[in-house]
């Protein structure tokens, strides 16, 4: 390298100019706007708070389930319905783990209850992550870049997965009761908030923060964001995108497993078909958020949770298709979703 060029640099490399990346604030205003609009319609402050917390909690659980698939969709361009298996698997593993720890779940101790949940969540994520790894190796890797085959093979895989779950846990619905101290509600005046919904809020926020930190503050996250835009160029810069794919699929499946536990505890029962039932909701969130956008999925999930709870109270009949209306409205406003990945 020539000395002349080195001296040509006008200033030291560290003296960088300030950040110029603009934040798109408009989608961020949607949830607060929805809350403000709902308040006069609901009329009662206590009901509004209860519904809002319930909506946010539901949104967080949906986000947890959808976050993995967002990465899988975004990075790998894989249309998979198989996430349903990992959701159901996670929930059933939690049934087994929590069933084996009656002293912890039945104890009147928040610490023991949370420890039981922690063990169940770890086991569920591990099982779902491993199942995802096997699924990717056996089925997905054969159909990269072939969307029709991806849909067919993952739907087939989901049917097989459901049958395997039935073989292990049976065909019947199973109860997934909340641990003792997480049942019931906290009451402040007229406001009653279920304790589990607060926990779901915390877990959902933690998952969101973790995913965002990994995506934005680590090199692996940078690779994932780059891979969402141009996989071939990531490979051309010397990274093995295939390994990244496998890792993301396993992590995405593990997150689905966590979502399965949270959803199962939310419903307080689990069925082998629960994953397939939630799949529709997940696809809506991912499409609304913008394929591959974690922040978009987060906002989309919150909106779905809020709309479902508000319309369920105000117009129960509309609640049946309120999510579809929401998706249509958002896609009419932003056809690529709330936060589109521009280079795809």
């Amino acid at each position: 390298m020539s000395a002349r060029v080195s001296t040509n640099a006008p200033e030291p490399a560290q003296a960088m100019i300030s950040a110029k990346r603009r934040i798109d604030w408009l989608p961020l205003l949607l949830a607060p706007l929805l809350m403000l609009i709902a308040y006069p319609l609901i009329g009662s402050s206590s009901t509004w708070i209860t519904l809002t917390v319930a909506g946010l909690a539901m949104g967080m659980i949906i986000f947890i389930i959808a976050s993995g698939l967002t990465l899988i969709f975004g990075l790998m361009d894989v249309f998979t319905f198989a996430n349903g298996i990992f959701i159901a698997l996670g929930a059933f593993v939690a049934v087994s783990v929590l069933g084996a720890l009656p002293q912890w779940t039945g104890a009147d101790s928040l610490g023991l209850n949370l420890a039981a949940l922690g063990v169940a969540v770890l086991a569920a994520m591990l099982a779902a992550g491993l199942a995802g790894l096997v699924f990717e190796r056996l089925l997905i890797r054969r159909v990269y870049g072939q969307h029709l085959k991806q849909i067919l093979i993952t739907m087939g895989g989901m049917v097989v997965g459901e049958e395997l779950i039935k073989m292990v846990w049976g065909t019947q619905q199973m109860e997934l009761p909340l641990p003792a101290t997480l049942s019931g509600s906290l009451v402040w005046g007229d406001v009653a908030i279920e304790k589990y919904r607060l926990l779901a809020l915390l877990v959902g926020l933690s998952v969101f923060v973790c995913v965002i930190v990994v995506l934005n503050r680590t090199k692996v996250g940078l690779l994932i964001r780059a891979g969402v835009q141009d996989r071939e160029m990531v490979e051309s810069l010397g990274y093995r995108i295939q390994r990244l794919f496998i890792g993301v699929f396993a992590v995405g499946s593990a997150l689905a497993g966590l979502g399965g536990v949270m959803w199962g505890l939310y419903q307080q029962n689990v069925t082998p078909q629960m994953g397939a039932q939630v799949n529709v909701l997940i696809f809506m969130v991912i499409i609304m958020g913008g394929l591959g956008s974690t922040s978009g999925s987060f906002l989309g999930a919150i909106l779905i949770g809020l709309v479902a709870n508000y319309t369920g109270f105000l117009m129960p009949k509309v609640a049946l298709f309120s999510n579809i209306l929401l998706m249509v409205a958002i896609l009419l406003w932003r056809p690529q979703g709330l936060y589109s990945i521009s280079s795809r």
């Binding site: 390298m1 020539s2 060029v5 080195s6 001296t7 040509n8 640099a9 006008p10 200033e11 030291p12 490399a13 560290q14 960088m16 100019i17 300030s18 950040a19 110029k20 990346r21 090199k219 940078l222 690779l223 964001r225 780059a226 969402v228 835009q229 141009d230 071939e232 160029m233 990531v234 490979e235 051309s236 810069l237 010397g238 990274y239 093995r240 995108i241 990945i341 521009s342 280079s343």
Partner: protein, 245 residues
């Protein structure tokens, strides 16, 4: 002519049902800048992509630094010292210039770990990279994107850089900037294989030249010889073009 750092022997490439390269024989001398010229569709870009392993050679040998790399994964080729600037530049538009550069610096986990002297050198060559360091790369102009694409290839020492049509669609001032940058790069003993349609650009930079037509190399030699020989230019480039018009 120096010994070849890269040598292609009878390389064939098929893309689906199409047979694109029909036995490419090419030598890229070590430490020199080799121009790969030819009309549209002659197979220049396919040759670069085949070298990089983005499309697999169906037959033939690709020897780089005395090793046959024809079957090696793209990531391994980069690790062995090859960088690639594609025709579409491959910029990650949603990432900042800084993030694009960090990705290209494979050894660095953060910007602080990027070789500061090398970064200074690149900023000297392309001041726009410093000015727009924190800007989303998608917002850069076409010329700035090309500078970023070339900067990414230069952020780590490379043995060989493959560059596909760097002057395409650029203003004359930017082209002059590119020429200056490639001259600097040549001084670092980096071997360069550059695909180009702009003969004037090629004439100013190339040490050696290879001309492609119909998926084959139809001429190779010194750039200076081709630049001085109008008849040869017409025969290789003019006739070749006319035959396909």
């Amino acid at each position: 002519m120096n010994e070849p750092l890269l040598q292609l022997d009878g390389v064939h490439t098929h893309i689906g049902a199409y047979h694109i390269l029909h036995g490419v024989d090419l030598k890229v001398p070590r430490g020199q800048l080799t121009m790969l010229l030819g009309r549209n569709g002659a197979g220049k870009s396919t040759t670069l992509r085949t070298i990089m392993g983005l499309w697999r050679a169906s037959r033939g040998h690709i020897i780089f630094d005395d090793h046959d790399i024809a079957a090696k994964p793209t990531a391994d080729l980069v690790r062995s010292g090859i960088a690639y600037v594609p025709e579409n530049m491959g910029i990650f538009g949603d990432l900042t210039v800084r993030e694009n550069m960090l990705l290209a610096a494979r050894q660095a986990r953060s910007v602080d770990e990027i070789d500061a002297k090398r970064l200074e050198w690149i900023f000297g060559l392309f001041p726009a990279m410093k000015k727009f360091w924190q800007h989303p790369a998608g917002k850069l102009s076409g010329g700035q994107k090309q500078m970023l694409a070339v900067s990414r290839a230069m952020i780590e020492p490379r043995k060989l850089i493959l560059i596909d049509e760097p002057s395409k669609g650029l203003a004359p001032a930017i082209i002059a900037n590119m020429i200056a940058a490639f001259r600097e790069l040549k001084q670092t003993d980096t071997t360069i294989l550059l695909v180009e349609q702009n003969f004037n650009f090629a004439r100013q930079l190339g040490d050696t030249v290879a001309v492609m037509d119909n998926g084959r190399i139809v001429h190779s030699g010194l750039m200076a010889a081709l630049a001085e020989d109008q008849d040869l230019q017409t025969r290789l480039l003019g006739l070749s073009l006319a035959a396909h018009q």
